[in-house]
């Protein structure tokens, strides 16, 4: 009796999980496309100093689709953030915000570097 009951519960739970998973997949169909993993790995600022800082302190999370960080050159991830204004984004980068560690743990970065790095990652390098 206990075994049959346990098996029944497992079947119900598996069906429920599959249903939820299907819903999640369907919901995912409406998400805007993000850069491919290959693109994420290849993006780099043109400026040599920013490129070195980006590779050292930003890329590990912002080019990793599993990190939860807004991905480099991903419009869907940056649109709402960019709307908050560059000064607020720079402030969040410097002091840390949610999963983002303060300054990306870049001890050599200046406020101007953060501004350049955010502009690059948000794909707004030419935007005032």
């Amino acid at each position: 009796m206990h075994d049959r009951g346990g098996a029944g519960r497992v079947v119900v739970m598996k069906r429920t999980i599959l249903s939820v998973a299907l819903l999640l997949v369907l919901a995912g169909c409406n998400q805007p496309s993000r850069p491919s993993d290959e693109q994420l790995a290849s993006f780099k600022p043109a400026d040599a100093r920013l490129a070195a800082l980006y590779v050292q302190s930003c890329k590990a999370c912002h080019a990793n689709a599993n990190s939860g960080a807004p991905l480099v050159h991903d419009p869907a991830a940056w649109e709402a953030r960019w709307a908050k204004g560059l000064p607020m984004l720079v402030d969040h980068a410097i002091v840390g915000f949610q999963a983002m560690p303060a300054g990306g743990q870049c001890a050599a970065c200046t406020a101007k570097d953060y501004e350049g790095l955010i502009r690059f990652m948000a794909d707004h390098e030419g935007t005032p």
Partner: protein, 468 residues
Amino acid sequence: MKISRRLAIGAGAGAAVIGAGALGVEYANRETPEPPAPPATDAQGHVVWRNWSGIRYSYPQLRAAPATEDEMAQILKTAPAPIRVVGAGHSFMPLVPTSGTLVSLDALAGLVDVDGERATAWAGTRLGDLGPALAGKGRAMANLPDINKQSIGGALGTATHGTGKHLPALHGDVTALRLATVDGNILECSAEKNADIFNAARVSLGSLGTITQVQLTTIPNKRLHRRVWLESFDDTLSKAEERWSTHRNFEFYAVPFTGLAANITHDETDEPARPRGPETDSQFLDLLKTLRNLFGFSNTMRKAAARVLLASAEANPEEAVDEGWKLLSTERPIRFNEMEFHLPAAAQLAALREVVDTIEAKRPDVFFPIEARRIAPDDAWLSPFQGGPRGSIAVHTYYKDDYEFMFRVVQPILRRHGGRPHWGKLNSLTGADFASLYPRWNDFLALRRRLDPQGRLLNDYLKGIFGV
């Protein structure tokens, strides 16, 4: 926190179902508010430095990133004190905060040379970069910690370690180092040359000078077979000593409020590579947080729900085969605060049982697994592993959650069992405490006074424990 992707994927979906059906997704996913942040700049316009978890910060008046040893030596001689060097900022103790000069060694990074078993690297080299650089030469570090962001210099300074009964902490594999000192000189140190400084500097919290270059003993770069599985905490405790004896690397995480432990082994193999795949430990932690949010009021219900959700993970171990540097160290995307003590090996498991029981009795807000590792001894003066093998116990709290309780609830247990704190992790020990734990403490203090008589390298925390 590196545990298991299959475990996370299977259980994460189940948690979503339970959350939606029971009290609502919003309730299940509720978050502690973001801790208050310090201002980005101070009144003088100095930009804040803050550690990885966010609990330590300061406003250095000067930031420096020397590109040569000579530049580093000049900074030590002339820059505003206190002069503190930062690596990845992963220390939870106030080792870095300074109102003087903050130095990054990011420009002093890279592999210098490999000569047989010996490899030489600049001290600013991040562990995540050193692994592939050594692999390119067919070599590997014998052991690694579980985060790969640290610089090798910072990792040595705090006695950072991995796990393995026969494997010492990172500084145990150092055969020589170059130390820039406050008089502007560079000292070559090894067992044969400046031996006292060598034995003191290998673990020295940046208080004797700045290590610019290290020479390490390395091993041939081989593939490891990684295996991760869940089983009852009781079974893990009864088999842990045998596993430390029979596996190259063994560690486990006691998962509080579940009755389970996640076991991880790594052993050398000639099997073809089967990469681990993307990091998904974050999903496992999210599941444990959801269980805390939903069932934190009842240990019985929390444990029962966990056992249902984790049943499939218990039956399906995760396996991977790859080069050691790809498996032993990883990114850690979820921030936390941590207390870790290194206990005499014989006391480790009893102490761990006591810690788990105490947390389950007093702190239902905790959801991070508790880590147990084993480290071989070495002879650096301030090495926590000096004098015999040690077993480590590490308690983590989510960065938004209270961590102060660990000083009251966890530290007394670990101290009673003879523990020495990890130099970079939370503890409230004083200089007198350290003097009783380290036979060469006074020798270290005398050497420090000789190398830095003005205390140019000491911030308030270090002045406190060194009695300056």
